[in-house]
């Protein structure tokens, strides 16, 4: 009872609403901040994240753009270099490839190329992931590719707190930050503290504590992994679930501390297996925790196919709870 008294008041909301609150907060707190992207204004965002913001803040702050990812990402870079704090929304990570030249060749390199005379304090948000039957040109998880690029930060908010809190911290960063929002999380409902605010963007988080195996994941796979941990607990296996949160830089210390404790790891990553972020995490474990390992590091990734349209095939193509459970048990020799 006493605890209930000190617990902060919480509000029930969706992940979508948490992102929207983050946008509202940022636009209100800093008049250099504006949101720019396809359909973010009158349509309210293709995932309805910015619904109502045009009416609230007007077309100066909520700007609809033509279907030209390279063009408006470049505009965002220019605005950031000139002193603004733009938030560019790219509809999905698949479309972001049209802006890859701006992101990789300009945003990530300007500080280096200008001899530190210019920086690009730009935030780019985009949707990622499969599960909504949007077929092979709207459903991929390419955040691992972006995590390959020096000069930018890559974030993957998997919880309401992070959806609400990462944006402001990202806007304070002097360099480009990419935020990947998994499409399956937008409708997720949960309790968020009424006074929720900015969070750190450089530490992984232990979402569930355990001693037998480390399940390392991020974004949309976080909840499937937590479900897997619950299923494993029923069989007497205590899994620790690590939410990476930041895909670049990776929080090696948290990963290694967990694996050193559990001696086993399975990485869950919705990207394709070959050359995946899971491969990078696995290799870092081998480099830094080899002598602590009790089993080969396992991976649950997407099948190496274009994400299919039919629901049953789409579900079969991406990591699911039973696959995570099976991989964890294999690492424990209990397959």
């Amino acid at each position: 009872m006493q605890q209930a008294a000190v617990r902060p008041r919480t509000i029930e909301m969706t992940y979508r609403e948490a992102v929207r609150e983050a946008l509202r907060d940022a636009i209100k707190r800093d008049d250099r901040v504006f949101l720019m992207g396809e359909d973010v204004g009158r349509y309210g965002g293709c995932y309805a994240v910015s619904h109502g913001l045009l009416a609230e803040f007007g077309p100066e702050r909520i700007r609809d753009t033509p279907l030209s990812e390279s063009g408006f990402t470049g505009a965002g870079i220019g605005a950031a270099m000139a002193g603004m704090r733009p938030i560019v929304e790219l509809m999905t990570v698949n479309f972001s490839l049209l802006a890859l030249d701006q992101i990789l060749n300009t945003a990530a390199t300007v500080r280096h190329m200008s001899g530190n005379q210019f920086g690009v304090p730009l935030v780019i948000r985009m949707a990622t992931g499969a599960g909504r039957q949007l077929a092979a040109q709207h459903s991929h998880s390419l955040e691992g590719w972006y995590a390959h690029i020096p000069g930018i930060k890559v974030l993957a908010p998997g919880t309401l707190e992070d959806a609400r809190g990462m944006l402001w911290t990202a806007l304070q960063d002097p360099d480009p930050v990419l935020i990947f929002e998994n499409v399956m999380l937008y409708n997720m409902t949960g309790q968020l503290a009424a006074d929720a605010g900015p969070v750190n963007i450089d530490k992984a988080a232990v979402r569930r504590s355990g001693r037998d195996i480390s399940l390392i994941t991020y974004g949309g796979s976080l909840w499937k992994t937590l479900e897997a941990a619950t299923a494993l607990a029923a069989e007497g296996i205590e899994a620790e679930v690590i939410d990476l949160r930041s895909l670049r830089p990776l929080d090696d210390a948290s990963i290694i501390a967990s694996v050193a404790k559990t001696r086993r790891a399975v990485v869950v990553d919705e990207g394709w297996r070959s050359g995946s972020l899971a491969a990078e995490v696995g290799m870092r474990i081998v480099e830094q925790a080899f002598w602590s390992l009790d089993a080969p590091v396992g991976r649950v990734c997407s099948e190496e196919v274009p994400i299919p349209y039919p629901r049953h095939l789409e579900n079969a193509a991406i990591p699911q709870t039973p696959k995570i459970v099976a991989a964890a048990k294999a690492a424990l020799g209990r397959a």
């Binding site: 002598w291 009790d294 089993a295 020799g333």
Partner: protein
């Protein structure tokens, strides 16, 4: 196809008992791989193959005692095998000249392993965490059954073992598994009796100032991690090996009424085994090894010998023997030559003695080195030069 036979591990060996196969049909072996363990009077010996290829058939069952020369297994050599495992690249095998595999062999052939398994030695899989824990506590992984993925030994498996046995027990148990001390005693008795019966020994003794060796070692070891530090025994072995290279009459075998010098210098190192055993396995090409290398091989050899895992080549190869009583011994020992060798060099313990150096008496570290020589092969005069050479070499350890 070649036959892999029960080897002769010394003139006194007539038969051996097969106690362990380390390969199974279908396994690939290369020259020098240990393929089986044979129990002899000298203890359990790991038998190496001199023929590379694929094990085709095991001919002798475990626990069988068979005479020297008995075929133990068939090994299909690589040349025979290649066409049947995978088609050779066209450049090597033109289609007009196919190599015909012997038809009779096909039904017997064991399932072929994928090429990736070629040369892989079968051994227990153990996780890195298990290996580190086992190493820290001196646990032998081969005695543990794994519970991990694919039967791999895990950290918990090693922990369980540590929980059930006191630290000193595992090596003890292992020795009991491989070393039959009573049989070894009989083998020593036979060899030593034969030596005293057949070999007219002569004995020489030489006192050597090893103060410089001690200083040099102290200085060198100060820069080395404890695991790599040199012992004075390594200097002694290297000095004997180098001297034997210069005096070939002491390095070889006396057989059929004549001395046959050996090409290589393989120094047999007398190693005492707790409980009353003794073995003198070879430190191969000791004259060619750097001191660091020699020391690390010596450590390995002592460890394996005490664990009862000597290799067949180490038993049959020594060309001269060195025996040292170490710190806890006495000042001099006069060895009995191990036939058919013709010399054994003994090192007594290092003692502090008043010594005259440059006309003044001072404290020096002195060791007594002895030579037992076979008078059929050499005379005392040559023996004296040989022994003096060892003493001289020990004056300049930095050149060893």
């Amino acid at each position: 196809m070649v036959e892999f036979r029960m080897p002769s591990l010394g003139a006194d060996m007539e038969a051996g008992t097969l106690v362990e196969w380390l390969v199974k049909p279908g396994d690939w072996v290369k020259r020098g791989d240990v393929v089986a363990v044979v129990e002899t009077q000298k203890g359990a010996i790991e038998i190496e193959t001199f023929q590379a290829g694929q094990i085709e058939k095991i001919l002798v069952d475990l626990k069988s005692k068979v005479p020297v020369g008995t075929p133990l297994a068939h090994i299909r050599t690589e040349l025979e095998e290649k066409p049947s495992v995978a088609p050779a690249p066209p450049t090597l095998a033109p289609p007009v000249a196919p190599v015909v595999a012997p038809p009779a062999r096909a039904p017997v052939a064991a399932p072929t392993l994928p090429p990736v398994a070629r040369g892989a030695v079968a051994r227990a899989a153990a996780s890195p965490a298990a290996r580190r824990l086992a190493e820290e506590h001196g646990v032998d992984l081969s005695t543990i059954t794994g519970s991990g993925p694919a039967g791999a030994i895990t950290y918990a498996d090693v922990e369980r073992r540590l929980g059930e046995a006191p630290a000193a027990a595992p090596p003890e148990r292992k020795r009991a598994l491989w070393l039959d001390l009573a049989a070894m005693r009989m083998a020593i008795a036979a060899a030593m009796a034969r030596s005293k019966r057949e070999i007219p020994h002569y004995y020489l003794e030489h006192q050597v100032d090893v103060t410089h060796c001690e200083h040099w070692l102290a200085k060198k070891n100060a820069t080395l991690p404890p695991d790599n530090r040199l012992l004075i025994g390594a200097l002694a072995l290297k000095a004997v090996a180098s001297a034997a290279r210069r005096f070939p009459a002491f390095n070889g075998f006396y057989r059929d009424n004549k001395f046959e010098p050996a090409q290589a210098v393989h120094v047999g190192v007398a190693i005492a085994i707790r409980g009353g055993g003794l073995a003198a396995p070879a430190l191969h090409d000791a004259d060619q090894l750097s001191l660091d290398e020699l020391m690390s091989r010596l450590r390995d050899l002592v460890q394996r010998t005490r664990a009862g895992r000597i290799r067949s080549s180490e038993i049959s190869d020594p060309t001269i023997t060195v025996s040292s009583l170490g710190d806890r011994g006495v000042e001099a020992l006069y060895g009995i030559i191990y036939p058919p060798q013709v010399a054994i060099v003994g090192f007594g313990k290092v003692v502090a003695r008043p010594w005259i150096v440059d006309g003044a008496i001072g404290p020096r570290s002195v060791a007594t080195i002895t030579l037992s020589g076979d008078h059929r092969a050499t005379d005392g005069h040559a023996g004296a030069l040989f022994l003096a050479e060892i003493g001289k070499l020990l004056q300049e350890p930095e050149k060893l």
